[in-house]
């Protein structure tokens, strides 16, 4: 029998991936990593390819996107073609902890809601640093405990919202990973989350037409997959957003220089 599908299998199927802070956070990360024309950028855990295509389109950069899921990479390739950037965006299936690139290649390596997932986060960050050119930037947007220990209802909400296997860290621990990879000029910016803004962010990231496509795929998946119907039921039973959420859970931008 096949394994029970995960949160990310569903996300790949419907072509919807997101990270906290939405497009605004992406733009801020791009600025902090000095990404601009002519830069060579790696997006680790690129999901459905939204950020690589955005960077290629707006800044004219060459971008490589990697994701551990073959389904996500298929979506990414479709998107690059649709957005007319297939000539400067390439995708590979790869694990953040074992990147398939030579040393000192990229001007910037970014991740959005990705490094909170691998078992060995330091190994992943060391890999980001290895493939970055000396003087280049490594930028993370990752879910963050603003206060510890988080109460159980907040932990439950976070795993449902961001993915069941998410393991957020405190901002000190995230910064520690960058320092552990011998990065310098470390910048830390943490933010509370605002659930209304998150919904707006998804709409801005995908646009109205994009969202209609996503909704169509969600309906079709709901109609044909009993596993997805179970997942939706679990989410509905999970209840409302905890009142004290923003006190404990948020996201942070963490940037270091090689």
């Amino acid at each position: 029998m096949d394994k029970e599908p995960t949160f990310f299998d569903f996300a790949a199927e419907v072509g919807l991936t997101k990270h906290l802070g939405g497009l605004g956070a992406t733009e801020e990360l791009i600025e902090l990593c000095h990404i601009g024309e002519g830069k060579y950028v790696l997006d680790v855990g690129c999901g459905a390819g939204v950020t690589p295509c955005f960077i290629a389109k707006r800044y004219g950069c060459r971008v490589v996107g990697v994701d551990i899921s073959e389904g996500m990479i298929e979506r990414s390739k479709e998107r690059a073609k649709r957005e007319g950037v297939a000539d400067r965006v390439e995708f590979r299936v790869a694990d953040a902890q074992d990147l398939p690139f030579e040393d000192d290649l990229f001007d910037a390596v970014i991740t959005e809601s990705v490094t909170a997932f691998p078992e060995d986060k330091q190994r992943a960050v060391n890999e980001y640093a290895r493939v970055t050119k000396p003087g280049g930037y490594i930028g993370l947007n990752e879910s963050t405990w603003l206060k510890v220990p988080p109460p159980p209802e907040v932990v439950a909400w976070a795993s449902q919202e961001v993915g069941a296997s998410v393991k957020p860290l405190t901002s000190d621990a995230w910064a520690g990973l960058l320092e552990g990879a011998a990065l310098r000029e470390v910048i830390v910016r943490t933010y509370e989350i605002n659930t209304q803004n998150e919904a707006r962010g998804v709409l801005r990231r995908y646009g109205c037409r994009g969202m209609l496509g996503v909704l169509g795929r969600i309906l079709s998946l709901y109609a044909r997959s009993p596993a997805y119907r179970r997942f939706v039921k679990e989410v509905r039973e999970g209840g409302l957003t905890p009142e004290n959420l923003d006190e404990y859970f948020g996201y942070g931008l963490y940037v270091g220089r090689k």
């Binding site: 398939p100 030579e102 040393d103």
Partner: protein, 66 residues
């Protein structure tokens, strides 16, 4: 089709030695000690160590369509 630019920078995720394109559908690690081979399925190179492990003992000439 995999671009020459990207092929030039691709390395084996396990040993980080260069890979070479074989039969248009495989990326084979050029390190004799490693010998991992990564399939290109539907135009997507699968550069995962566990995928490469599966074909360590398969000779290059015996590699089929992924």
């Amino acid at each position: 089709m995999i671009s020459d630019d990207l092929l030039a920078i691709l390395a084996c995720p396990a040993c980080k030695v260069k890979v070479e394109l074989v039969k248009d559908t495989w990326l084979v690690c050029t390190n004799d000690e490693c010998r991992r081979k990564y399939p290109i399925r539907d135009g997507i190179p699968i550069m995962l160590i566990e995928e490469g492990d599966k074909y360590v003992d398969v000779a290059v000439e015996d590699l089929g369509t992924p």
